[in-house]
């Protein structure tokens, strides 16, 4: 089978380096992965093509890159499943990371962020004679998240990192969850305080790109949501980052409004999240609010009650009661 492998290339040694696309027309077998195709290009057509790979079996995490716009492990993605109607497959370096050359990205920022979440067990003393033991059953729920191979596919496709490189990102925060949820680690409160900071758990948009990109089922976004829930439930103070305080209030206000009204009232949500007397924020929202009013888009604060709202209130109250009971 013929394939047009279109590769986004970049050579830092050129006088004025800038990315460009190069197409390689090669013969591929049905079983070829994208990595097989790239290696064939490098060995038979163009020895200057730079890429990073090692195990070729979706274990080492070296070959994360974008295929047709989405991050994958090149060694796990079949060429035949990614060919367009005219036989082309588009390969680019992983996103959100500086490109060193061609398909090789600089992982230094990635590792710095992983290090920033303190990715090691912090049990209380005294130390046991041998290893810290934990029964199987309390570790089972961590199997998926511990399956992370640090390939950075999730980081590549993160929509927040596209606009804010300060965000810790899905891989580091999934790793953070792994320690908060480990019964042997006893620094939850310090950790949650740390993860509440600017660039932490509250900056995630819940877009789901990281869940889609992860080749190992780690579901980083779900871990970030679990960290948010833990931060709120454990009573960890939001700390010095306004975004965390707004995040806490947003979660609380959303639940309160829906539990009471059955439906969401956007205006109330904004007011309750930002705070009625938060003048700078309220003034910032004013032009949009006035504009919405002018265009008859502003929801009425006197919206009719949802039929059966008492049933919704009853459900919310009962679930809250059960939850509080369980917490005690």
């Amino acid at each position: 089978m013929q394939a047009k492998v279109s590769v986004r290339r970049f050579n830092p040694d050129e006088e004025q380096p800038k990315p460009y696309d190069q197409q390689y027309d090669i013969e591929v077998e049905e079983h070829f992965t994208v990595l097989d195709a790239l290696i064939k290009v490098r060995e038979e057509v163009d020895g200057s093509l730079a890429l990073r790979c090692s195990c070729r079996a979706a274990i080492c995490g070296s070959c994360a890159m974008r295929v047709n716009g989405h991050a994958v492990l090149a060694c796990k993605a079949r060429v035949s499943q990614h060919l367009s109607d005219d036989g082309e497959v588009r390969v680019e370096p992983a996103g959100n990371q500086p490109v060193i050359k061609d398909l090789v990205v600089d992982l230094e920022p990635f590792w710095n962020k992983v290090r920033a979440v303190e990715p090691y067990l912090q049990p209380s003393l005294p130390e046991p004679e041998a290893e810290y033991l934990a029964p199987n059953e309390v570790m089972l729920h961590l199997v998926d998240v511990m399956g992370c191979i640090m390939c950075g596919a999730c980081v590549s496709d993160c929509t927040v990192l596209e606009v804010d490189p300060n965000f810790l990102g899905p891989a580091a925060l999934a790793k953070a969850y792994r320690f908060v949820a480990d019964t042997r680690d006893e620094e939850d409160s310090k950790r949650l305080g740390l993860y509440n900071g600017y660039g932490g758990i509250w900056d995630c948009t819940r877009c789901g790109e990281c869940v889609a990109a992860c080749p190992k089922g780690v579901a980083p976004m779900d871990r970030i949501m679990a960290l948010r829930e833990k931060a709120i439930e454990s009573g960890t103070p939001p700390g010095g980052y306004d975004g965390a305080a707004y995040g806490y209030r947003h979660a609380e206000a959303f639940e309160e409004i829906v539990s009471h009204k059955g439906r969401l009232e956007e205006t109330m949500l904004v007011v309750k999240t930002l705070g009625m007397f938060n003048l700078p924020k309220m003034l910032g929202m004013l032009p949009v609010g006035l504009n919405a009013m002018f265009h008859r888009k502003m929801p009425s604060p006197f919206a009719p009650t949802v039929p059966g709202v008492n049933q919704i209130r009853r459900l919310a109250a009962r679930i809250k009661m059960n939850k509080d009971g369980a917490a005690r």
Binding site: G69, T159, V160, E162, V163, D164, F167, W202, D203, C204, T205, R206, C207, G208, E209, V211, A212, M225, R228, E229, I232, G243, G247, H250, A251, F254, E255, V258, S259, G262, R263, L264, E265, E266, T267, L269, V270, T273, L274, V288, N291, A292, H295, R296, K297, P299, A303, V306, P307, G308, V309, Q311, I312, R314, L315, A316, R318, I319, K320, K323
Partner: protein, 293 residues
């Protein structure tokens, strides 16, 4: 074709023109909409963060109400669609469903599983058929360039949204745009995040996303963007000028709701579709589509 209609909070709140245009268009293409009486918010992913059980219970209640009507559900919001699809998967677990049905029993409701929930976008492609819509169109939108923008929840996670069984869902918006004679402007942002969920948490990042996507659509020559998600609409339309100021450039791209696009081809006029209720003026694109504004 008859559906249990789930309008979602935003079409009854900050984006009333979506509700208005949906009703107007449904009548023209023979979709009978029976609104689910007493429907509640799906949780929009936000409630699922703080109280997942309440989120699933409210969705199960909506499903049970629709089942009592004997109809499949039609949504008009990517977020509602995605949240419901995910809840639907969890509620296929019989033990979990029984636990939730116990809560619903007092209202004499029971969700028996297997409800079908479809966004209007999918209904156009899968149930009504593009040929039928084309046959109803009174004008071609030839020469109009439209950038699709899906909204995260109608794209991911693809398993809950049954993309394997319905592969055309991946390009449904482009299919509708092209069927009506307009040109779909492919853009990198089309399946990315509009930034709405973090608007009150990190406004700077949220606006940066708005500027990135609307700016891209403008640079690619789009006359407007089209979205099946009213939350994306709120952010891309309502905050576009603020986002443009943040990045120091001019951006002016109208954001159309899906039924407004369809309605335009069916010969409905601007006011009937609520095009005058947008914050970024849709005057120019309405003229280009040959609408009375």
């Amino acid at each position: 074709m008859r559906y249990a209609f789930f309008p979602g909070c935003v079409s009854r709140g900050g984006a009333p023109e979506l509700y208005q245009s949906t009703i107007a268009v449904a009548g023209r293409i023979g979709i009978e909409l029976e609104e689910i009486e007493g429907w509640s918010c799906t949780g929009a992913g936000a409630l699922q963060e703080s109280n997942p059980l309440l989120g699933d219970t409210l969705n199960a209640r909506n499903f049970a109400l629709a089942q009592r009507m004997g109809l499949s559900i039609m949504t008009i919001c990517s977020t509602c669609q995605g949240v419901m699809a995910q809840a639907r998967v969890r509620l296929e677990d019989e033990e979990y469903r029984a636990q939730i049905n116990e809560l619903l029993a007092e209202e004499d409701l029971e969700y028996t599983g297997g409800i079908q929930v479809k966004h209007m976008l999918w209904i156009m492609v899968e149930d009504i058929g593009l040929d039928h819509i084309k046959s109803l169109a009174v004008k071609s939108l030839d020469g109009v360039f439209l950038a699709p923008f899906y909204g995260c929840y109608i794209v991911r996670p693809s398993a809950a949204l049954e993309y394997d069984a319905y592969p055309q869902r991946k390009i449904a918006l482009e299919l509708v745009i092209e069927a009506l004679g307009a040109t779909a402007v492919d853009n990198d942002g089309k399946t990315r995040c509009c930034g709405f969920p973090i608007l009150t948490i990190n406004e700077r990042n949220s606006l940066a996303m708005v500027a990135k996507h609307t700016g891209e659509a403008q640079d690619l020559g789009a006359d407007a963007m089209v979205t099946p998600c009213p939350l994306c609409h709120l952010n891309l339309d309502g905050f576009q000028s603020k986002a443009a100021r943040q990045v120091g450039r001019q951006i002016n791209v109208p954001i159309l709701h899906l039924p407004q696009l369809i309605g335009a081809a069916l010969g409905l006029d601007g006011p009937a579709l609520g095009l005058n209720r947008h914050i970024v003026s849709s005057f120019d694109v309405a003229l280009k589509m040959g609408l009375r504004v």
